[in-house]
């Protein structure tokens, strides 16, 4: 099948989630005997290297009207690319940009959409894709019956491939509408790493007693290059910004390592984090439900244990 991957970028670089989407799209093309192509709106520095992820051709469009991500404008451009390329499967990352554009494009192309995909499509009998449901408590196989299929791949669900292919960059001309959305400002969150893209997440809950005690959590996160997260009551009490709130009614994440400090592990919290590959729990209550969902655990006081973890990590990393 002909595959088209939407490449999202920020600050002049392709987002990690889009490299995952590219690797995923290339694999679908390989499995179904098609070509993997991609489209980028803008000019991030690293587009040449998309060949490594298996992208054979990259349609590139640059235009003054693309500064703000206006889903209406982007959708109309992508429709033109799909028509030109004859794409049958379109892959987005299910990140903030994908969530804004993929549903619109699905309507425009009358294409079935699987949002939140976590595995490659199964084409043995029709076209079905596995996605998370009930905030990670279960999964569903979604069958797509339209000619064109759109998949929005959850971040951290597919490994980035590093091959040695090359990508041909093809400039693309399209009708570009004037955006109706104007960006007037932006702010970065406290952590250095975006929560949904992070490999490692350090998270803390009400067990930390107050916002003044987050220094050790931040230090550990810094050491591990991790993003910060928190439980809902912590965000509700304004100890931490709301965009760090993970769980069923916050952000759902699937990092390689999730470290939960002073979090009880309520069902609603677990729902958003239980897809993490390895979970480490530090809690002074041996009965805390989180231990049932954990891979490694320490029953102990966070105020004693976390500084020790920091020291041990420094030691292993050769930092004194």
């Amino acid at each position: 099948m002909q595959v088209l991957v939407f490449i999202d970028h920020v600050d002049g670089h392709i987002k990690k989630a889009s490299l995952e989407a590219a690797s995923y799209g290339a694999k679908i093309a390989e499995q179904t005997g098609g070509t993997a192509e991609a489209v980028v709106l803008g000019n991030p520095a690293d587009i040449d290297s998309l060949g490594k992820q298996g992208i054979k051709k990259l349609y590139q469009l640059q235009h003054d009207n693309l500064q703000a991500i206006d889903s209406q404008v982007y959708t109309k451009i992508l429709e033109q690319v799909v028509q030109k390329a004859g794409s049958q499967v379109i892959v987005f990352s299910n990140n903030s940009t994908g969530k804004a554009i993929a549903p619109r494009l699905a309507v425009r192309l009358q294409a079935g959409l699987v949002s939140g995909a976590v595995a490659l499509p199964d084409t043995s009998n029709g076209f079905t894709v596995r996605k998370n449901v009930f905030s990670g408590k279960a999964f569903a196989q979604v069958s797509v019956t339209s000619d064109i299929k759109i998949i929005a791949l959850n971040p951290n669900s597919f490994s980035i491939t590093e091959g040695d292919g090359a990508t041909e960059i093809v400039p693309f001309e399209a009708t570009v509408d004037a955006p109706k959305i104007k960006v007037t400002g932006s702010t970065k969150t406290s952590g250095k790493v975006a929560l949904t893209e992070a490999d490692v997440v350090v998270s803390a809950g009400r067990g930390l007693k107050g916002p003044e005690n987050w220094k050790m959590v931040e230090e550990l996160a810094d050491l591990l290059g991790a993003a910060l997260a928190c439980s809902r009551p912590v965000a509700d009490a304004n100890w931490r910004p709301h965009n760090e709130h993970v769980g069923q009614t916050g952000i759902a994440i699937a990092p390689n390592l999730y470290i939960a400090i002073g979090i009880s592990g309520a069902i609603q919290h677990l729902a958003g984090v239980n897809r993490s590959k390895v979970i480490v729990v530090v809690n002074k209550d041996a009965e805390a439900p989180f231990f049932k969902a954990a891979d490694y655990g320490i029953v102990g006081d966070a105020f004693e244990v976390v500084p020790k973890i920091i020291d041990a990590v420094k030691k292993i990393k050769g930092i004194s």
């Binding site: 920020v10 206006d70 889903s71 209406q72 903030s96 940009t97 804004a100 993929a102 549903p103 619109r104 494009l105 699905a106 079935g112 959409l113 939140g116 449901v133 009930f134 279960a138 999964f139 569903a140 196989q141 069958s143 797509v144 019956t145 339209s146 959305i181 104007k182 960006v183 007037t184 400002g185 932006s186 702010t187 970065k188 969150t189 790493v193 975006a194 949904t196 893209e197 490999d199 490692v200 965009n243 069923q248 759902a252 390592l257 069902i267 609603q268 239980n274 979970i279 480490v280 891979d295 490694y296 655990g297 320490i298 029953v299 006081d301 004693e304 973890i309 041990a312 990590v313 292993i316």
Partner: protein, 247 residues
């Protein structure tokens, strides 16, 4: 201002997740149903706050669902919706739901349409974007703040690693999440008033899904926790380094 809030019914967050009919259906027996938290806490409450600032505003609620959705619709009316429309069909997938909503939205001539960022059961987060496309109006997803000044909306939206402030003219569709408003509890007056507020039932249009969940499953259980003594924290870091290979 005319506001439409799209509301859906979801299982309670503590509901047991299980499937029946050869794993093709969510097992509804014994499940408590709630108003989807994103729709209630953020979309609806923000609409109510906007109405409190501008009393000439009206809030319409719309739900795609059977009679079983009426309790959650009444709750939304008790919180502060003015009237509700129920489109009488069981929801199956975002595309058909958005198609039904678009019919109501087109007839109502709304300035602002709010949805939650996703439902907590199927986690699609697609209805808002699909609806906006069907209406051919702008869509701002994952909004954490919304201010309206005349016909201009100023919206904060989540982007990876931060937030962006955007300006856009009405009419628009917005999907709401945490930050947008503070959850409220309906009061006695609201509950009494909700009983007599209009709840109109309309019949659905004909539409077929393009993608549909055909089978469900549960993730494999964890192998069990490996406990490390608090006096031997270096062992934990060693395990993460050597066994799990992540540090």
């Amino acid at each position: 201002m005319k506001i439409l809030v799209c509301i859906s019914k979801t299982p309670d967050t503590t509901a047991k997740i299980a499937f029946t009919d050869n794993n093709t259906k969510f097992a509804e027996a014994g499940v408590q149903w709630i108003l989807n938290p994103y729709d209630e806490w953020y979309a609806l409450v923000r609409a109510i706050e906007l109405k409190e600032k501008d009393a000439s505003s009206v809030i319409h609620l719309v739900n795609v669902g059977g009679t079983d959705a009426e309790p959650i619709i009444r709750k939304a009316l008790a919180l502060g919706g003015d009237e509700a429309i129920r489109i009488n069909v069981t929801p199956t997938d975002p595309f058909t739901v958005a198609t039904q909503l678009a019919e109501v939205a087109k007839q109502g001539g709304y300035d602002l349409i709010l949805t939650g960022k996703e439902t907590i059961d199927y986690n699609n987060g697609s209805v808002g974007g699909m609806l906006a496309e069907m209406l051919d109006i702008p869509y701002v997803a994952l909004a954490t703040n919304l201010q309206i000044d005349g016909t201009t909306a100023t919206v904060k939206r989540e982007i990876e690693g931060g937030e962006e402030t955007v300006e856009v003219s009405l009419p628009i569709v917005i999907s709401a999440q945490k930050g947008m408003a503070e959850a409220r509890i309906p009061n006695m007056r609201g509950i009494m008033a909700a009983r007599s507020k209009p709840l109109k039932v309309v019949e659905p249009v004909q539409v077929e899904p393009l993608a549909k969940a055909v089978e469900f499953g549960l993730p494999p259980a964890k192998a069990g926790v490996k406990l490390v003594s608090p006096d031997n924290v270096e062992e934990l870091v060693r395990l993460l380094h050597e066994e799990a290979r992540i540090i």
